[in-house]
């Protein structure tokens, strides 16, 4: 896969020593008829080469929107990035003209989507959709590009790749389709891979295979992986660091072991307690009461306060809780993080 990078155009201002991905205070809003939905309200995180960063949160907390903002593929209108920086090796992608930004996609930062059946174009063969990347970004001939497509299908362990390259997406099983998606994302050897709930649409055994494949390919290429998920089990297996999101904010950020051992935010704690456990078989599942707030109407103060058992007056008032430094390598946005962490 060495020749792939040969024809890649240089991006001005790239600092090879800077982090592959840094998101700083990102704000995204959706301007709809029913008002402005504040989907992302100041998300920050770093990603090192070879590191896996999980972004965890329930549906509608802004994790997919964050991913789309990084890729620059928000539906706009109604979606707008209203503030912050997205740095790829020191270059702010938000300041790049669209023609430059386009070349970052797939080449340097690639993305895997949740539902591979709808994310692959139904009327083109997977070979065409893979080869397209080489033809458009590397100027390869159809024939060479097709050969590369076969190699890629081999890479993601699709049996009989030479024949399957001419099949259409609907002729693949769910797991095989997700492998095709992975092949497509890795085609141009990106430094950062964003996987938006890559296993949600799959059954459990296939989930494990896909995650193992992703982890293996990531290790081989020393690639940074942003794993967006709501599945605590998947996170525990593969993530290095975790950002927990709630109502468009990161409310806790820590290494995976710290979070699982002693969550410092009541929301994280609630999420962990809601994992079904074998030793508590037969007992009622613990769940976080209530619903996440509507993004058009986020409560003042801590957005989690209506559902939180630690809530006091200070939580209901602006400003929102700052990110407290829980330890040198972790932060949590809760006024009472000591109590949360302590009564474990």
């Amino acid at each position: 896969m060495t020749d792939v990078n040969v024809k890649m155009e240089a991006l001005a201002g790239v600092d090879p020593n800077a982090l592959p991905l840094q998101v700083k205070d990102l704000h995204v809003e959706f301007r709809t008829r029913n008002g402005i939905a504040h989907a992302v309200n100041g998300v920050s995180f770093d990603l090192r080469a070879g590191e896996t960063r999980a972004i965890l949160g329930e549906s509608g907390c802004g994790k997919s929107v964050t991913a789309q903002a990084i890729m620059g593929i928000l539906d706009s209108p109604p979606g707008f990035v209203t503030g912050g920086e997205i740095l790829y090796r020191g270059v702010d992608l938000l300041k790049l003209p669209e023609s430059e930004r386009r070349k970052v996609r797939a080449n340097r930062i690639a993305m895997i989507f949740q539902d591979a059946l709808s994310a692959l174009n139904p009327v083109f063969t997977v070979g065409f959709q893979l080869a397209e990347l080489f033809r458009m970004h590397r100027g390869m001939s159809r024939q060479d590009a097709k050969a590369r497509a076969v190699e890629l299908l081999d890479l993601v362990k699709i049996p009989a790749a030479r024949q399957r390259v001419n099949d259409y997406p609907h002729q693949f099983s769910g797991g095989m389709r997700q492998r095709v998606m992975i092949a497509m994302a890795l085609a141009l050897d990106p430094e950062v891979l964003i996987a938006d709930e890559p296993t949600t649409a799959l059954d459990v055994t296939v989930q494990a295979q896909i995650m193992a494949l992703l982890a293996e390919l990531q290790r081989e290429r020393n690639m940074g992986l942003v794993l967006i998920t709501h599945d605590m089990g998947v996170v525990a297996d593969v993530a290095d660091r975790i950002s927990v999101m709630y109502a468009g904010r990161v409310i806790e950020e820590a290494g995976v072991d710290d979070i699982y051992a002693s969550p410092a935010h009541p929301y994280t704690k609630g999420l962990l307690e809601s994992i079904p456990r074998l030793d508590l078989k037969g007992q009622e599942l613990s769940a976080i009461k209530g619903l996440p707030p509507a993004l058009t109407n986020i409560p003042p103060g801590c957005a989690f306060n209506p559902r939180c058992r630690y809530t006091q007056e200070v939580c209901r008032e602006d400003p929102v809780p700052p990110l407290y430094q829980v330890s040198p390598s972790r932060t949590a946005a809760c006024h009472f993080w000591k109590e949360v962490k302590g009564d474990e």
Binding site: Q68, M71, I73, D75, R102, K103, V104, R105, A106, N107, A110, M111, F113, D115, S118, A119, L120, N121, P122, V123, F124, E132, L133, M136, H137, Y168, H170, M184
Partner: protein, 353 residues
């Protein structure tokens, strides 16, 4: 696929026979109630009964069932008294016609003793040209307008397309045709014809109020556009909705995430999917355009199939009506079959067993 095509072709048989019987019965009823069409040949004069009888027999209107009101002409009393299975009856006019058409390729003759096959052969090039102009016009303009409107939903252009299409859809084609002939062909055409610097091809040909044999293609352009305009509106709306639906599709987002140019995201990934329903519509529309051609050709005096059918229906020449309409039915059926096959080619998810 092969078996599917064969099954579809077999389904043609009842459709064609049913259509033919319906036409046969309607034209027979017309003769039974309004009298022998051959009389029309003599105008006001009363022909000698022997001559009338001879011509009537010659033209195929001699069957006694045509004198009995309401008789479907399916059977007649056998002359030798034996008939089919000794019933005293044998197969009647309808079966004579079927036998003639399918076994001898004899579609009969009109009142002037011209072969129906010749009449059709002379008329069909005009209708085909008219249809091609109409379909090309509606496909090119309709798809272009639909794509532009669909990509910018809610824009000024989108509203223009929406409003103008409602306007076109709600005006019947015979009204539109007459208005266009009067204002474009006559009034505007007269202004053009008054200018020396405009070539005759434009002023006399294109902007002629009726078909001109001297300009066989140019003078069909405006009738063709009239014929295509109603379906053009439908095409534009269908394309617009389809595009709006598809630009939000997940695979379009994937295409963007692949770093493809906007041109390619729209032109390759969105358009191909969006056009599947549009092309299906255009195929089915060939049938509707044929029906429209009857009106358009009559208004603009185009000597095509449509006018042939109208004139023959007026004079009660049942053989012409049956022959021509049967051919039209076959054309429409074949067009629909082709569309279904094309559909499977465009959308690989469709498989015919």
């Amino acid at each position: 696929m092969g078996r599917y095509v064969i099954r579809r072709l077999l389904q043609f048989i009842p459709t064609v026979l049913g259509t033919m019987f319906l036409l046969h019965y309607i034209t027979s009823l017309a003769i039974q109630f309004s009298g022998n069409p051959v009389r029309a040949l003599f105008g006001d004069r009363t022909p000698p009964p022997a001559l009338l009888q001879a011509i009537t027999e010659r033209l195929g209107y001699g069957d006694p069932c045509l004198d009995r009101k309401g008789d479907p002409c399916l059977w007649r009393a056998a002359e030798d008294g034996g008939g089919l299975l000794g019933s005293g009856y044998e197969l009647g006019l309808f079966f004579d016609r079927l036998h003639g058409i399918f076994f001898n390729f004899d579609f009969g003759i009109n009142l002037r003793q011209q072969e129906v096959t010749d009449l059709v052969a002379n008329a069909i090039p005009f209708t085909l040209k008219l249809l091609v102009i109409a379909i090309v016009f509606e496909a090119v303009v309709g798809i272009a307008a639909g794509v532009l409107a669909g990509l910018r939903g809610g824009s000024f252009l989108d509203y223009m397309v929406k409003i103008s299409t409602v306007f076109v859809i709600s005006v019947p084609i015979f009204v539109l045709g007459l208005v266009v002939r009067e204002f474009v062909g006559v009034k505007f055409g007269n202004v053009l014809r008054g200018q020396d610097w405009i070539p005759d091809l434009i002023s006399v040909g294109v902007f002629s109020p009726v078909f001109k044999p001297d300009y066989p293609l140019a003078s069909l352009i405006i009738p063709g556009m009239v014929l295509g305009s109603v379906s053009l509106a439908t095409t534009a709306r269908l394309t617009r909705t389809s595009i709006m639906e598809n630009v939000r599709a997940d695979y379009v987002r994937t295409a963007k995430a692949k770093g493809l140019t906007n041109k390619r995201v729209i032109g390759v990934h969105t358009l191909r999917n969006s056009l599947i329903p549009v092309i299906t519509f255009l195929g089915v529309d060939i049938g509707a355009a044929m029906a429209g051609a009857v009106v358009t050709e009559t208004i603009f005096n185009v000597p095509g199939i449509g006018r042939l059918v109208t004139m023959s229906a007026r004079t009660g020449e049942s053989s012409v009506v049956i022959g021509v309409v049967t051919m039209l039915v076959l054309v429409v059926l074949l067009a629909n079959l082709l569309v279904d096959i094309l559909y499977a080619v465009l959308d690989p998810r469709i498989r015919y067993e």
